[in-house]
Subunit: 323 residues, 2 copies
């Protein structure tokens, strides 16, 4: 297959590109390199069957039509991917996530490319009380601009499935960890502990429960679903576990060999719209035969090891500090 | 209260304006008069405490800030309101519904206006199998660009409730009928029967079940919820009934005194993304004490009477024929 990966220089995208090339596909990565990095495509860039197109999906919608025209399938991963900073610039999620998704869908429609897989998020469940959360839990109430932008994108994709005959699959990720990881609490904690190893500031009360998926397990699920026959079919992507922020902070400290005092900013959540308990039900994904190789703890530890081995990732100017 | 009504010259908006003025509120109607009509504001226009602002919420976002600044509450009704024609121009619902809703929310946020009521739609439920459909039915799959644009708008509004302290109420309407009604199957059938009374073409197989609400019942619910304290709280607005398209066609013919032969275009739905069975559960709305005055049949009959009394509505160039 010829597969287009939007956000192909990003964390998940670059891992996906490598796997798709390993599987024998021709791959075009599209990325504006705003948060993605050429360094993540070091292996791919010299391989035959790979092309990187540096372009902006918001501003260059027409150009994307020419890129997508020869493709058999699109993984649409390009997005503002950080749930925490929506209120700094309330248009960002609308533009980078909703309008860009619309541009991708329209480009595919007019060029008759009909297979789409979309990186959505467990944040679309807002603060559901059904935990572990299945895909068909009660109609949720959104709590973040990021979640709202993802549920909006899902709706557009499902409408295109119904009205324009798209074969589309929606993947609701928990937080993903591993090689090429660039933002989230693990990098924040590692960065903080390298600067000052005697104290670690934790947003909220540290009792928030979260779920994490190791990126190779994530990629295995994504490539498994590449040829799925859904019309807006939704899958949760996560392990059947959760951990508290304090637990993961403890694993990170142990891995780094430091014993800081924990300080808490207080409250039951880390930021506006933070969901204090995330644990997605992976039963539907498991029905395809997929099983994760790594536990949450192993995912956290592998990420710490990656950041220690690749300290330049900690220094990237694009990597934003937590507020 | 000073209330801004976007889409205030439209079908539901103009009825709402009249009621708000009757209730003693100051009202600013905002409308670009693309599908709304000055004729619907004939009573309001001469009353004190009323102002109409002819402006476009998509193109004039900054101007809207000045309009909304003195307001206590906003009813956001401006939208592309026809679910049937999404695929003629796939950007329309995104622009007129999602981006305009974002513009309204941002204008309210920066001017510190915090009370919003939003006209959503039962189309957000897609083809749910739970009928009558409660507000917390299983996470739906979208089937139309219109429904997708409404669920996207709902999500944005809920995110602003959580993140910017909005007091907001989301109203999911069934199809509304009555005075100032300008598009939908009743006007299509009346127009068709005036041109040719011996045959009536019905989209689909005529067995689609739909639900309708008389506009005065709709307005009563909307004004009742004006001071509600929700944060993205959702209410279905409909009667606890449905009828088939053939039944409503029969009532329309009887009211007009014609006996056409019915012809069917076939299939179980009228257009791409049509939901063949709509019946919203109004239990939550009824818990506020609201009760409808009119049955579905009475709503249909009152609409036919309105169109017969005001035949100019049938001739408006904006009124689109069914495909």
């Amino acid at each position: 297959m010829h597969v287009v990966v939007t956000g192909g220089a990003g964390f998940i995208g670059s891992n996906l590109v490598d796997q798709l090339l390993d599987d024998g596909h021709t791959v075009t990565a599209v990325d504006n390199l705003s948060t993605g990095s050429l360094d993540f495509l070091g292996k791919a860039i010299s391989r035959s069957g790979f092309e990187l197109v540096d372009m902006d999906l918001l501003e260059e919608a027409a150009r994307f039509r020419d890129i997508v025209r020869p493709a058999d399938a699109v993984f649409h991963l390009a997005a503002n991917a950080d749930v925490r900073y929506g209120w700094d610039e309330p248009e960002r999620d609308l533009r980078q996530n909703v309008i860009v998704t619309h541009n991708v869908l329209e480009a595919m429609r007019v060029t008759n490319v009909r297979r789409l897989l979309f990186a959505s998020s467990g944040s679309v469940y807002g603060e559901t009380t059904v935990i572990p959360t299945p895909e068909d839990c009660p109609f949720p109430v959104q709590t973040s601009l990021y979640g709202a932008s993802k549920v909006a994108s899902e709706g557009l994709i499902q409408a295109y499935a119904e009205g324009a005959g798209f074969c589309s699959t929606i993947l609701r990720f928990v937080s993903v960890l591993g090689a090429h990881y660039t933002h989230g609490h693990v990098i924040d904690f590692v960065r903080s502990l390298r600067a000052e190893s005697t104290v670690l500031t934790i947003l909220g009360d540290g009792k928030q429960r979260k779920s994490y998926l190791e990126v190779t397990d994530c990629i295995a699920a994504m490539t498994l679903l590449l040829e799925a026959d859904g019309r807006g079919e939704v899958y949760n992507l996560g392990v059947d576990q959760s951990c508290t922020v304090v637990e993961s902070a403890g694993w990170i400290c142990e891995r780094l060999g430091v014993r800081p005092r924990f300080e808490f900013t207080g409250g039951d959540r880390g930021w506006i719209g933070d969901n204090p308990h995330i644990h997605l039900d992976p039963t539907k994904l498991q029905s395809t035969g997929w099983r994760p190789r790594y536990s949450i703890r192993e995912a956290v530890e592998r990420t710490v090891d990656y950041l220690v081995a690749e300290p330049w990732v900690l220094e990237r100017p694009e990597a934003r500090a937590a507020p």
